[in-house]
């Protein structure tokens, strides 16, 4: 049994089957992008263990194809197992061993990156100080107790829980949140906007601004802006009902919406927090990009967008920031520019974009615990190749030296170098 198990995981057939399935997955996943968009296709087909099929009208999830993670994992196991089975610690194989170790590390590192890498962004205008970055796609329903003058207590509910609807109860909130309506993507609705369903709320911004559902986005450069109609209910009755949406919190949608409605409803500030009081405590409620807090703060001193003189051709983008970490004692100015990111505290800050009109900078913040693995893996492969090459070279040179007698070498006289057999006269019989 064990033998069969080992044979299965070390077989070349498994490698071929995995590669075949990977081909099918890439084909099917590429086609799926037409229907569900690039980002969703990546999540469902490639960043998953299984690809599921849901028959219409049912809530069933039937796996019909291994996902990218599963195929990659099996390939990795296959490679490792085959390697262990045929492992021979000999001097001659050291180069091959190094090359394979590099490949295994590359696969494993990429897998860890897929799972643990967190990408977010930090939008800063000159003078802004932030100790958090925001997810480009993930959202959360945040209920913040702002009563304390020094600090806020945040209860962050992931969008995946909100999407399930129903009631959300947590001992950290003195009331229950009732999800009355959830649109995974939404659009502010005016009186002339076509569409049947327009949602308004009893309190806050939603009293004046209605929302309609919108199709999910299909491209990588667009994000879904969810809307939630949420009611807070205590044991004494309803506390309030609000529309919360990324339309009020996510850059640049919120700024765009605020600008759009300024002429129509000048008193409505969609970017202002929606607050309420309950049992003497003040709360804010918002649907917002997931926040990743840091134990340090970043302040934008200046954003610089240079152009070649007399043209609009970009020459350089750079952000001058001030980094402040009282715990580590760091307090310094740093310049981040193209191809010169800031690496700090396990995070890398890239100059990623800028606000229209050069009003501010957009830094891409990447946390990847496995970020060093590709470098180490490539170094191992390169070292293995060099070792293997040198071993062959030395071996060849040694053999050559052994086979070459001094008499056969007529280099000094300028005569051509002869094969040893011919030079020694042994080949005459041929």
């Amino acid at each position: 049994m064990v033998h069969r198990f080992i044979n299965f995981f070390t077989s070349l057939r498994l490698t071929v089957v995995c590669l075949g399935l990977a081909l099918i997955l890439v084909f099917v996943g590429t086609l799926a992008q037409v229907q569900i968009g690039l980002y969703a296709a990546q999540s469902e087909y490639f960043r998953s263990f299984f690809v599921y099929w849901t028959p219409k009208g049912t809530g069933l999830k039937i796996p019909f194809l291994p996902g990218g993670w599963l195929i990659g994992l099996v390939l990795l196991v296959n490679l490792l197992a085959a390697h262990i089975k045929r492992f021979q610690l000999t001097k001659k194989k050291i180069g091959i061993l190094l090359i394979h170790a590099g490949l295994i590390l590359l696969l494993g590192g990429q897998f860890l990156t897929e799972i643990f890498q967190v990408e977010s962004q930090m939008v800063l205008e000159p003078g802004d100080v932030k100790n958090y970055s925001e997810s480009g796609r993930k959202n959360e329903l945040a209920v913040i107790d702002t009563t304390d003058p020094e600090k806020d207590k945040v209860v962050a509910i992931p969008e995946s829980l909100v999407a399930k609807g129903g009631e959300i109860r947590t001992p950290d909130l003195p009331f229950t949140l009732r999800i009355e309506k959830y649109f995974p993507n939404s659009v502010p609705a005016g009186p002339m906007t076509p569409g049947e369903e327009k949602i308004k709320a009893a309190n806050g911004i939603g009293q004046k601004l209605a929302f309609s559902p919108e199709q999910l986005t299909r491209t990588m450069d667009a994000v879904d802006l969810p809307m939630v109609l949420v009611q807070a209910v205590s044991d004494k009755g309803p506390v309030g009902e609000w529309i919360v949406s990324d339309w009020f919190t996510r850059y640049p949608a919120a700024q765009g919406l605020q600008s759009d409605i300024a002429g129509i409803m000048p008193d409505l500030k969609v970017t202002a927090p929606q607050t309420f009081t309950f049992n003497g405590r003040t709360y804010e409620i918002a649907m917002r990009p997931v926040r990743y807090y840091n134990p340090y703060s970043v302040k934008l001193l200046a954003f610089n967008h240079d152009r070649y003189p007399g043209t609009d051709v970009p020459k350089n983008y750079s952000s001058m920031i001030h980094l402040s970490n009282p715990v580590a004692g760091d307090d310094r100015d740093i310049k981040i520019y193209m191809n010169n990111p800031l690496r700090y505290h396990g995070q890398t800050y890239y100059q990623a974009g800028f606000e229209p009109g050069d009003k501010g900078t957009i830094l891409q913040v990447v946390r990847n615990p496995a970020s060093l693995t590709p470098y180490i893996a490539c170094s191992l492969v390169a070292l293995g190749l060099v070792v293997q090459f040198l071993m062959h070279l030395f071996s060849f040179a040694r053999k050559r030296a052994q086979q070459t007698s001094p008499a056969a070498t007529v280099k000094k006289t300028g005569a051509p170098l002869l094969e040893p057999a011919l030079a020694s006269g042994k080949g005459r019989s041929l």
Partner: protein, 352 residues
């Protein structure tokens, strides 16, 4: 191990997180000097406004949303300062702004017709200068529209201090220019980068950020609170049992087009939709307004709730990339009686 780690990681993302964070403090703009030069000595061009600081004025530390503020150095224990703020697009209405400034001086709000201002040009951009005097304090505000932004440069303080500082303030305004300085910087290699993209194309709707039109509201119309978002104004006419409602709204570009809107209106009073654009000519009549050519439609249907005849007269007025919708709907007799008034009202609306 990898599998377990990934499962745990996925689980962690699905759970409610509770944490405490220090209070967020809004960003404060840096003093002009800090923006003009980074520590490496390379000039940077983040500041879109530049000025020459008058003698005796002192730049104050950053404060809230102000781009910059100054102490004008008043004498005899009086105080006055200058604040520069800017906002994208147009901010509120002129009346709203003036009454806010009046409120700061403990003055009563005024009507639009009572607003006084002097024309002003700052760095070739047009603007207005308001001078509002209160009991013991005075405010002089220059409002300038520049490249899609509204700039407010406000001198405010004790009456005597503002009076003394006003000539210097006017010189200060002349020294302002909005052009960004040319920049020389280190020649780092670069990749092409795009400005941030709005997830939705709001460019068409952005044009809707305009000030409201000037209306000659008939005396018998009573203004009511808009019942729907994005309705600019609404009025009621008639009595409770027989009344009509007038609404005004605006949308960017064609606002969905005449056919779609007229069909929607037809549906509201129980009429079947028309399918062809060509049928519209029989349902509409041209209307000449101050904004130019418009169309008017007059529909008679039935109120679904009461079964009584219901009439709707609506005008679609395109003007400078926007489409204005005027609609009077209600009791057929009331609408009939108000038709000429409504048409005259639509024709005389003055657009900003």
């Amino acid at each position: 191990m990898l599998l377990a780690a990934s499962v745990l990681n996925v689980r962690a993302h699905d759970q409610i997180q509770v944490y405490t964070v220090p209070k967020e403090h809004p960003g404060t703009p840096l003093p002009q000097a800090a923006l003009a030069m980074d520590p490496s000595g390379i000039p940077v061009n983040s500041a879109p406004i530049h000025w020459t600081l008058p003698e005796g004025w002192k730049e104050l530390p950053p404060d809230g949303i102000r781009r910059a503020s100054f102490d004008v150095g008043a004498a005899n224990g009086t105080k006055a300062n200058v604040a520069i703020t800017s906002f994208p697009g147009s901010v509120g209405t002129e009346l709203g702004n003036v009454n806010r400034w009046r409120g700061e001086l403990a003055l009563e709000p005024i009507a639009e017709s009572e607003i006084t201002s002097a024309p002003l040009t700052v760095d070739s951009f047009p603007g207005k200068l308001y001078d509002i005097a209160g009991a013991s304090a005075r405010t002089v505000v220059a409002e300038i529209s520049c490249n899609g932004n509204s700039w407010f440069i406000k001198l405010r303080g004790d009456t005597a201090a503002v009076a003394a500082a006003k000539p210097v303030f006017q010189e200060f305004l002349k020294s302002i220019h909005f052009a960004a300085p040319s920049v020389e910087s280190d020649p780092h290699s670069n990749l092409s980068m795009q400005p941030a993209i709005n997830p939705r194309d709001l460019s068409s709707a952005r044009e809707a950020s305009v000030e409201g039109p000037k209306l000659n509201v008939p005396a018998q119309w009573v203004e009511t609170a808009p019942t729907s978002s994005m309705v600019l104004k609404s009025f009621s006419v008639g009595e409770a049992k027989a009344e009509a409602a007038v609404t005004i709204s605006v949308l960017a570009n064609e606002g969905g087009g005449a056919l779609a809107n007229i069909n929607r209106w037809r549906g509201q009073i129980g009429l079947p939709p028309v399918t062809e654009e060509s049928q519209l000519s029989g349902l509409t009549e041209p209307l000449q307004t101050l904004a130019g050519k418009a169309i008017l439609t007059d529909l008679l249907g039935t109120d679904a709730r009461t079964g009584q005849p219901e009439r709707m007269i609506a005008a679609i007025v395109p003007h400078e990339g926007l489409t204005w919708f005027y609609k009077m709907m209600g009791d057929a007799k009331v609408v009939e009686g108000q038709k000429n008034t409504f048409v005259e009202f639509v024709k005389t609306v003055q657009y900003p």
